[in-house]
């Protein structure tokens, strides 16, 4: 069920109505029922996979909690008689046992994701090697990939790790855990919530609150605006520029980078706006996933502002555990003694960074383009880091210049273009083709075509360009105005202004977006991840 479809609007409205009609203690049941219906309607056969993930998560967390409680009780009971060293050794032994249970749960949880998402990729690799050595080619089985599986699997496995780390207590009610895994607004494209942030809110009764409802609805409309006006209008051109990449080279690659930046921003942040807005209407506050990412002045900053919940997931559950793991610490000590402190201290951290970005790429999709995308991001981050002393010297040498607004703007534009360039791997989906097309920006000097009919040759009319440019300008303005306090919170307190804005936004979406001439509602990009 598309967020942009009429059926979803009706579905969300009905859920909202039921949510506030039923007694408070029944509200979470309404959410659970809606979530299961939503997922069942999104695709035949999907439910079985999410039920499997929820069951594996529930049972593993239950065992982890049981062991942790037993461990704590034992230490408490024997505190007076146990030596400090003895207590430490006991806790270490118990932690090891719990770690094995966690590994089993992670294996079962991630295992299903791996089989469904990466089997074809692995078999394709094997086939390439096989045929290169003269073997006969064979067909690759096609497996069902349930929508949003990466999101709900990561959210569930994050919860398991939190239980193992004793950050949260395991949920004792399976239906409640199932709601955490399947909560419908965020099921298909995140944000990837943490159990400690979300679960209590899902279960706690919420009273109808006019301001929250108005602010939430405004955010939902804002999401539709971004998705339907900017993202989907740009999509038509991107499809042509990618499918006819042998024709559209040079300056058209630059245009693709700009248009795809607008599209992915409108699509992903728009979808998240709808998710967070719907939740806000019910009094549920989800974690923000974006913080004006295109104003970032460095790649590091960009990744602290773009897809924040995914970035923090990888940092907390992959990068840190890997970096401080015993083998990595041993590697660190060995490299320090052999290569000296400067190189030795860096190697393990950089190895963990490369591994994390490799997995981040793989999370986005089973393809070399995603892996190269991840590794290029990693390369930029590590190179920038090594150049930091140079930047600091430059800042000290030219303090007035580097503190000026134009310098800040240049840094933001530079970061935006660099990220856009790497992101284009996502469009062409072929690494060597993408590299060739990047090269064409230097070798095919066809900028003059922009002044003839070049801009309207790939599916965008002049009015489409106007819609995109005005849409981007509005987004930029609203985003800047809401830097400190979101605009919708101010508007929600003024019902007449709110009403006028909702009417205007609905009209704009209906006329220029969803149901305008030639509109083709498309799925959100991130649901495929």
């Amino acid at each position: 069920m598309l967020f942009t479809s009429f059926s979803f609007v009706l579905f969300a409205a009905l859920t909202m109505l039921l949510y506030f009609i039923v007694p408070g203690r029944m509200q979470w049941k309404v959410l659970l029922l809606s979530s299961l219906v939503f997922y069942a309607l999104s695709g035949e056969g999907y439910l079985i996979f999410i039920l499997y993930t929820a069951l594996v998560t529930f049972l593993t967390a239950h065992v982890l909690q049981h062991r942790a409680d037993a461990e704590d009780a034992f230490v408490e009971k024997n505190r007076a008689t146990m030596e400090k060293a003895e207590r430490k050794a006991y806790r270490a032994r118990e932690k090891k046992k719990r770690f094995r249970v966690l590994c089993a749960g992670l294996f079962l949880g991630f295992g299903m994701l791996a089989v469904l998402k990466y089997t074809a990729f692995v078999i394709d690799g094997v086939r390439s090697v096989w045929t290169a050595f003269g073997g006969e080619s064979f067909s690759i089985p096609s497996l069902l990939l349930p929508l949003g599986i990466s999101f709900y699997t990561f959210q569930s496995m994050g919860y398991l790790i939190d239980v193992y780390r004793k950050k949260v207590r395991a949920e004792r009610n399976f239906a409640r855990l199932l709601l955490f895994v399947s909560y419908f607004p965020q099921l298909l494209q995140g944000p990837i919530s943490r159990f400690g942030d979300l679960q209590e809110q899902l279960i706690t009764p919420h009273r109808f609150d006019g301001v929250s409802l108005r602010a939430g609805l405004l955010r939902v409309m804002w999401g539709y605006f971004k998705k339907m006006i900017v993202a989907d209008t740009a999509m038509v051109a991107i499809k042509t520029l990618v499918s006819e990449s042998d024709v559209y080279q040079g300056v058209y690659v630059v245009l693709l980078i700009l248009l795809y930046s607008a599209q992915i921003y409108g699509d992903f942040t728009g979808g998240i706006d709808i998710t967070i807005g719907l939740s806000e209407m019910m009094g549920i506050k989800l974690t923000e996933n974006f913080n004006r990412p295109f104003s970032s002045k460095s790649t590091k900053e960009y990744w602290n502002r773009w897809h924040i919940t995914m970035g923090s997931w990888f940092t907390d559950y992959i990068f840190y555990p890997l970096s401080v793991s015993r083998p990595m610490q041993k590697f660190s000590m060995a490299s320090c003694s052999k290569l000296g402190n400067i190189v030795g201290m860096r190697l393990p951290v950089y190895a963990a960074t490369v591994a994390t970005w490799f997995l981040t790429g793989l999370w986005h999709g089973a393809g070399w383009n995603f892996i190269v995308w991840g590794l290029l991001n990693c390369l930029v981050i590590l190179v920038s880091r090594e150049l930091e002393p140079l930047y600091r010297r430059f800042n000290k040498r030219f303090p007035r210049l580097t503190a000026s607004a134009p310098w800040g703007a240049w840094q933001a534009i530079r970061t935006f273009l660099l990220m856009g360039l790497i992101r284009s791997l996502d469009c062409y989906r072929d690494v060597s083709l993408t590299f060739r097309l990047w090269g064409s920006m230097l070798t095919t000097w066809n900028w003059s075509e922009l002044f003839s009919d070049g801009l309207t040759s790939f599916g965008l009319s002049q009015s489409d360009w106007a819609v995109i440019l005005i849409g981007v300008a509005v987004i930029f303005f609203v985003s800047s105005a809401g830097k400190d306090t979101p605009v919708r919170h101010r508007v929600a307190k003024r019902p007449i202004l709110w009403c006028a804005l909702v009417c205007i936004m609905t009209a704009v979406v209906l006329i220029f977006g969803a149901y305008g001439i030639g509109y083709d509602a498309s799925q959100f990009i991130y649901t495929q991840f």
Binding site: K300, D316, Y320, S323, V324, R346, P348, T353
Partner: protein, 75 residues
Amino acid sequence: MEKLLEILNHLHPDVDFAEVEDLYDEGVLDSLDMVRLVTEIGQAFDISIPAEELIPENFQNVDTIWALIERLDEE
């Protein structure tokens, strides 16, 4: 404490760690720094800092890092 300050100064020679109130929020330490810091602290104090302790609250300033070292040594 002196040993800790030495490690921090080695990591970022240009920062006055006694003055900074929130190393994480003020952007002095990022995730890569945290790992290098944990490795160096582990070696210097002969303790193991598990991944779950790598949270901003534990690395706000010199005092919170020192409190973490003492706690882990005690546990």
